[in-house]
């Protein structure tokens, strides 16, 4: 029977007591070798016999109705098997944790690029040709509004407030009122979205590239109109998700429909262009920061308003000011959001929704304020750390932000940064910048099963590994708890027939699935202690030997046959009583070309406190990857929409510029400060997948300002914008 544990109070730090010594160690990913040798089976790999190939067809009008789809227009192509469309097709992927079908628009077209049909053929090439040539007629309605600034369908949310912002702002000796914009972003995961569907009677098995299987199963079942029990999803390996694979997508539903109709497996792989056309993007933002402070740098007023966009029918609005609501304190705070309805590619969660863009503005504004006050930017932040969450009044569960700021400044050589514009090498100007990092922490219901027998242990959960290291850390937790060498634990993930977990999203996977694994293993420890006739606290398990009650025994003997435990966890009182977030500080040094406006990051340092680190290596990779995303959002990444149709013009990786190796400095350092978050979960961890991005880009942009005088408030800071800002600064 599954034991559900509610996180109602701080738990003992059991992982500090156990003696195996694998938790925290920088171990390699167990599945790494499979991946680099091409043996890991991703969704599109390994076609079953008889599989057919489907290619999605996109709408080429921005709004209207499909008047006709002429299957005869492609029937002459050799190997054509059919053209599929209809009321069950999805308009766009489901939002994260939806658990139900997203909009199914029937014959309506809501955006240019919307998948409207699937053509299936014996070969991929034939299907692609047919998708290109399929004759579709539309009744167009339009023109459409693609520009959020021109939208008249504005949904204003009730502002979040604390204290009296207006009064605080009026009473401030120094005030700042600035607008910033960020570009729309793509998740740009390496693996394109793919699905392989196969039916057995009325049951469907889908191999997909999906992040949250427990929800995806419900979403697929609802989309197809069948019971969830008839759906099995396999997603053992995923080539990156970054939010773009949170919900079931058009490729999966189309593959399932076609496979059922044709009575054979159907594989649908999105072309890279389709990934840009039809996968949820991160919204562009317009942000207004108003800060008011005393001369000594104490914040009196802080307001962070934003406008984001989405297509009609999607509830998601990027939570831009999320971190601004707890990072600093002030007498009055106010946060207002407006959601503009536009005809653009639909928007959803992309890695660190909220912080990834909100902190670009907040942390630049803090830098601007520090400059106005003549106070060191590190010092300004230290002076404004609130005692409690300023909006909710909750105490922080664990917050080492001040330590991160001080430690980072020390290690980076911040004191030697010199006056603005004072360092130069040839035509390159050098400067340093910094920013705080914050990303709130979550616990999502999760279950896992652990089986121990004479040869070792097996962990099973439908948790996914999107490249982050889930296989590694779940194995480490189980090995630690059961006193086994790491190679005696096998981790099986990504299968809905296993206990349902949180999935990968919002940096909560390790906390949630990790806690469930911990709890299941802990239940096994209890059984073992009983068999040893000792107390749990007396039991030691190490290298396959159990000790306790003055006895010693090989674990294999103690287990006998096998012990199986399943456990689940959910958030409880502590999530009400305390506020949990990861914190950190980013430092960057950049070179800016005085003529061309090119920016090159010279080095970066992130000092982060994010609870217990389960695997020092995979955690570091997450932090580094996040910081590189920060570079991208600050300097290079920009999705461009056609002004008439709203579709994405930068539809491939040659035009959508994620940072290349040459954009990433060789000197990238990550330092973790020791921390345990007792209120977060029983393993005292915090999410680490998104903290690295949060604030990182602002550190780069603040360094750009320090080097060159250019303050780039419209991001990314491509050479044209840097030149304009340098010229503006020069007057």
């Amino acid at each position: 029977m599954t034991k559900t544990f509610r996180m109602d109070e701080a738990q003992p730090r059991l992982l500090d007591e156990t003696g195996q010594g694998v938790v925290g160690a920088p171990l390699d990913r167990p599945e790494g070798k499979l991946k680099v040798t091409g043996r890991a089976r991703y969704a599109a790999d390994g076609l079953p016999p008889g599989a057919a190939h489907g290619v999605l067809v996109r709408a080429t009008v921005a709004a209207g109705r499909i008047a006709g789809i002429d299957a005869a227009s492609v029937s002459g192509i050799a190997g054509m098997l059919g053209v599929f469309h209809g009321p069950r097709f999805l308009r766009n992927p489901a939002q994260g944790m939806a658990g139900a079908a997203p909009v199914q628009p029937g014959d309506e077209v809501h955006y240019h690029g919307q998948p409207i049909a699937l053509v299936v053929a014996e070969s991929f090439e034939a299907a692609r040709d047919a998708a290109q040539r399929l004759a579709v007629t539309y009744e167009e309605t339009g023109p459409v509004v693609t520009d959020p600034a021109a939208s008249d369908r504005l949904e204003r949310q009730d502002p979040v407030t604390a204290g009296d912002f207006e009064a605080g702002f009026a009473a401030s000796e120094v005030t700042l009122d600035r607008s910033y914009t960020t570009a729309p972003h793509a998740a740009a995961a390496m693996e394109p979205h793919a699905a392989l569907a196969e039916w057995d009677g009325d049951r469907v098995t889908l191999r997909g590239a999906l992040q949250m299987l427990r929800f995806n199963r419900q979403e697929l079942a609802d989309s197809l109109g069948i019971p969830a029990g008839n759906v099995r999803i396999l997603s053992p390996y995923i080539g990156g998700g970054f939010g773009s694979k949170l919900g079931i997508g058009p490729e999966a539903v189309a593959a399932a429909l076609a496979a059922r109709a044709l009575g054979r497996p159907v594989r649908v792989v999105m072309a890279r262009q389709t990934v840009f056309d039809a996968v949820l993007r991160r919204t562009e933002t317009l942000q207004r920061l108003r800060l008011g402070a005393d001369r000594d740098g104490r914040l009196r007023a802080l307001s962070h308003d934003d406008r984001v966009s989405n297509i009609e029918g999607e509830g998601f609005a990027e939570p831009v000011s999320q971190a601004s609501q707890f990072l600093y304190g002030a007498d009055g705070l106010s946060f207002a959001q407006t959601l503009a309805r536009v005809s653009r590619t639909p928007a959803g969660s992309v890695r660190a929704p909220g912080e990834a863009v909100g902190m670009l503005a907040l942390e630049q504004a803090m830098d601007e304020l520090a400059e106005m006050l003549g106070i060191c930017p590190v010092e300004l932040r230290l002076r404004n750390l609130p005692e409690k969450n300023p909006v909710t009044g909750q105490p922080f569960s664990a917050r080492r932000l001040a330590d991160c700021l001080r430690e980072g400044a020390e290690r980076f050589g911040w004191a030697g940064r010199g006056a603005p514009g004072s360092r130069r090498e040839g035509d390159w100007m050098l400067g340093m910048g910094m920013a705080s990092a914050a990303r709130s922490n979550m616990l999502v219901p999760s279950a896992a099963r652990v089986r121990l027998d004479g040869s070792g242990a097996v962990v099973e959960t439908d948790m996914t590994d999107i490249g982050t290291g889930s296989y590694a850390i779940l194995g480490q937790i189980a090995a630690e708890m059961l006193g086994l060498p790491i190679d005696k634990v096998e981790v099986r993930l990504g299968d809905t027939s296993f206990p349902g977990a949180s999935g990968s999203g919002g940096s909560f996977g390790a906390n949630s699935a990790g806690s469930a694994t911990f709890l299941a293993a802990k239940a096994i420890r209890e059984t073992l202690a009983a068999r040893m006739g000792c107390d749990m606290s007396e039991l030691t398990l190490q290298d396959g030997i159990a000790r306790g009650g003055n006895r010693e025994m090989p674990l294999s003997e103690l287990v006998g046959g096998q012990i199986v435990e399943e456990a689940s966890i959910e958030a409880g009182e502590t999530s009400e009583s305390h506020f949990s977030s990861g914190f950190g500080a980013h430092f960057a040094e950049v070179a800016v070309h005085a003529y061309t406006g090119e920016v090159r990051v010279r080095r970066m340092l992130g000092v982060m406190a994010m609870g217990r680190i389960l695997n020092e290596k995979t955690a570091r990779s997450q932090a580094l990857g996040g910081m590189i995303w920060g570079i991208g959002s600050a300097l290079t990444e920009e999705m461009v929409h056609d002004p008439r149709t709203g579709h994405v013009v930068t539809r491939d990786l040659a035009n959508y510029h994620v940072p290349a190796h040459a954009d990433v400095p060789g000197d990238m350092q990550v330092v973790f400060l020791e921390e345990r978050d007792d209120m977060a979960n029983p393993i005292q961890t915090k999410g680490i997948g998104e903290l690295g991005i949060s604030g990182a880009g602002a550190a780069v942009l603040n360094a750009l300002r320090h080097a060159s005088g250019a303050r780039v408030r419209d991001m990314p800071a491509t050479p044209d914008r840097v030149i304009a800002a340098m010229e503006a600064a020069a007057g």
Partner: protein
């Protein structure tokens, strides 16, 4: 992708002879195959020239070099003679694409690669270059990568090659071979046509002609050569603007200057007036700015390319500062010097 026939040519002339309507040469395939997958190019037949030894190799020709059409970008950039005598070419090639692509990409294919205008790559959007008479979706669309020189109302697309810009500044010639076996040479700057009202006709190659080689003239001793490419990320992106500069100083004054520009025109762009402005002058930002003024007189911008005016001006000044030794080469800058 459409089905197509595939043939291997026995000789360069035989390859040329096969080039009727609907047939394309395939060399490295790094551009052609991408375009075939998205059906922007739908040849019914491919003539594979990659096994023709006659199109391979770099050999002396007069005081210069003859570079076979199949010499890969990687091979050319790494060649010791090129690095010593024409370092600009090596630097320009290395500023383009990625190591993997340069391993496959050929000299002929690089010159004939198609534009990167995103609407050209999208068969759902109107494009006169792809389908003459259809209209130009870029005119009122997103146009950051468009040209500012030599455009027409029918097409504003830029030629994306970096290598071609260096070849232009170095005064290279293209050797064109016809089915009869006859060859002719045209300057690299005249290989590509300006779009006018037929942007689909991109080069002066006639039906039944292929590129056989590129000829470099004698090296120019005592010149300093700089290729300066400015783009939206540090590597692996096409030029927003690029500047190739070959400059020789005599007693502190500019005696010779050859300039070519990339990312700004349907072909490598040269401007004799801008060059002349420099001759006899003492290197300095003011002199360089005068050259930029002359250059920019000819510019005609799409709203999204207005930024290229200050960017090109500044990039030209930056390149000339390096080419005249006013500033040290710094990180991310490709410059080289030829021994006298």
């Amino acid at each position: 992708m459409r089905a197509f026939d595939y043939v291997r040519a026995d000789s360069p002339a035989a390859a040329a002879a096969q080039l009727e309507e609907g047939t394309s040469v395939i060399a490295g395939g790094t551009n052609l195959l991408d375009l075939m997958k998205i059906q922007v190019m739908t040849p019914s037949r491919l003539v594979d020239i990659t096994r023709l030894d006659a199109l391979r190799g770099i050999s002396p020709a007069g005081e210069g070099l003859r570079i076979g059409a199949l010499v890969t970008n990687a091979e050319l950039a790494a060649d010791g003679r090129i690095r010593e005598g024409w370092p600009l070419l090596s630097r320009a090639i290395l500023a383009g694409a990625s190591a993997q692509i340069r391993n496959k990409a050929t000299t002929g294919g690089n010159l004939l690669q198609r534009t990167r205008c995103p609407y050209f790559y999208d068969t759902a959007m109107a494009c006169n270059k792809r389908s003459p008479g259809q209209g130009c979706a870029a005119a009122e669309g997103a146009g950051r990568m468009l040209a500012i020189f030599g455009t027409s109302e029918h097409c504003r697309a830029a030629h994306p090659s970096d290598m071609a810009v260096a070849l232009a500044a170095l005064g290279a010639q293209v050797e064109i071979l016809s089915a009869s076996g006859a060859t002719r040479q045209v300057p690299v700057t005249e290989l590509h046509r300006l779009p006018g009202d037929r942007p689909d006709r991109e080069t002066v190659l006639e039906a039944g002609e292929i590129i056989a080689a590129v000829h470099l003239p004698a090296p120019q001793p005592q010149t300093r050569q700089v290729y300066r490419k400015v783009r939206d990320r540090a590597s692996y992106a096409f030029a927003l603007v690029s500047v190739a500069a070959v400059v020789r100083l005599e007693e502190g004054r500019i005696a010779e200057a050859s300039l070519a520009f990339g990312g700004v025109a349907p072909r490598p762009w040269m401007d004799p007036h801008a060059q002349e402005t420099l001759i006899g002058g003492v290197p300095g930002d003011a002199l360089f700015a005068r050259a930029a003024d002359r250059l920019l007189e000819q510019a005609d911008c799409h709203p999204d390319t207005e930024f290229k005016l200050p960017l090109l001006r500044r990039s030209l000044v930056a390149a000339l500062r390096e080419a005249t030794g006013m500033t040290d080469p710094a990180p991310g800058v490709e410059t080289a010097r030829i021994p006298a």
